[in-house]
């Protein structure tokens, strides 16, 4: 028998899958971005159901409220035309796609099998009460190095994106 919690969870999960599927299958990049917003909001709702209110809020502010807004803005400025096909064809690129998907599934499965029990104990340690304060303490003491390393990773990605866009063929290419 389903409890009301289960019903809400499965509805949200279904909707998350639907919008995530929409991101990859819509032919127009703008619709992809709008589907991405829906997926972000849905994931925020799932965080709320887990009692992680702070992460839900940050998810909304950072991803839905800022990052995807920038995506949509850039897409509108470039006025990209509707692609004729949702997927590009090609044997080699198809195999690469399958390989990447397989790798991602593998990573997900490994994480689930190996860290599910550790995550449960850590979650129990943190507890539902005052989780914001404890999260901040964990982030800025025990996990400081990882936290800062991720921010450097984002910087590297940004520099890489600029470098790639200035190569030939890009919209900002030095002709």
């Amino acid at each position: 028998m389903f409890s009301s919690y289960d019903i809400v969870f499965y509805l949200l999960a279904l909707f998350a899958l639907f919008s995530a599927f929409g991101v990859v299958t819509s032919a127009s990049p703008i619709y992809s971005a709008f589907f991405l917003v829906l997926a972000m909001m849905d994931i925020a709702c799932l965080f709320v159901m887990l009692g992680a209110f702070f992460i839900a809020g940050v998810q909304l502010i950072v991803y839905a409220g800022a990052v995807v807004v920038l995506f949509v803005m850039v897409l509108m400025l470039f006025n990209l035309h509707q692609e004729t096909e949702a997927f590009s064809r090609g044997t080699i690129s198809g195999m690469a796609k399958l390989g990447v998907t397989g790798l991602l599934c593998g990573i997900l499965a490994t994480t689930l099998f190996h860290f599910a029990s550790t995550a449960k104990t850590i979650a129990a340690e943190i507890g539902p009460e005052e989780s914001t304060e404890k999260l901040a303490k964990l982030l800025f003491s025990d996990y400081l190095f990882g936290f800062e390393a991720i921010s450097i990773l984002i910087l590297v990605v940004a520099v890489g994106a600029v470098a790639l866009s200035q190569l030939k063929g890009g919209t900002h290419a030095k002709s």
Binding site: A66, V69, M73
Partner: protein
Amino acid sequence: MGGDAFEVTVNLVKMAVIFLMMVQMVPILVWAERRGSAFIQNRFGPNRVGPLGLTQLLADAVKFIMKEEFVPGKATALLFYAAPVVALIPAALSLAAIPYSVPVHVEAFGEYGPYVFNIQGYEAGLGILFILSVSSLGAYSILMAGYGSANKYSLMGALRASAQMVSYELALSLSVIGVVLIYGTLNLSEIIKLQEGVKFGLPNWGILYQPLGFVLFFSCAFAECNRLPFDLSEAEGELVAGFHTEYGGFKMLLFFMGEYGHMMVASCLATIFYFGGYNIPYCTPTEVLQILETKFASSTVASLLTSLVFLISFLIKVGFFLWLFIWVRWTLPRFRYDQLMNLGWKKMLPWSLFNLILTAAAMLILKG
């Protein structure tokens, strides 16, 4: 009726009431805006329909509903229709998380137990974070309207508006963090409770500790609501009407409701963070409750009246800020786009960072 069913019913009723309250405030604000602008510009304004022209807006609403309803030829119908509806959601959700008054304590009667009735749509534990995150979604309705209308002016207006909202959100959030540092909580009711009483002969309100924060917060709020002097998204001199160029009738009115809803949220937040929320200077809720309990036999009635007194106090403060929004709109000219971006990134953001660091340093020195 079980306890859970009762809770659910109460919350649903509250949501409906808060949404209706927001929608009903709009005609009054539009009237105040038109009469106020006329007063400022030495004109008459609407004064023919009903007393003081108050029923003008009723006539306008009927006109809005009666208008022909259409979609422009090349527009994307789904986005075009969805945008005005989406415009209402962030404002309504944020307004529901705001505590309007002290909770009413209903005593037990008959078989029913005592009950605490919060004058608030729902108690969000991290209220500030919730409101900031929900209202940051407001940019999407504008983007959807701009893209869905298939009109150059709409698109330009939408791009300007969303760029402006993203830029000023940073400074806004940073100025709010000053308040969070001082009170050490993200819960709006607790922030209000901490502002009770008197300090240095003045009410113990947030503005005593965060004067710079208030100025930054309120100016960024103007940009977030797309109001003059930051209404670059409409800029009727350059862009016809910006993102709602193609909208008419009731769909246009929905955008108006969203804008006024954002104004209400900003005024409520300014009141809560810097002007003591529903607190009345020089008297606390418990004092008022004690006085009223001597006058009335039933403690439920006393609690209800206390709540009403503080609700009126909150509404007076919010009303003042709403008037300030209107006042500024009809007094200041519009910024140019480069001036707007310079102000946002080169002045507001550094000043709010400075405010944050100053607050943090002061907290560290004073509290050890």
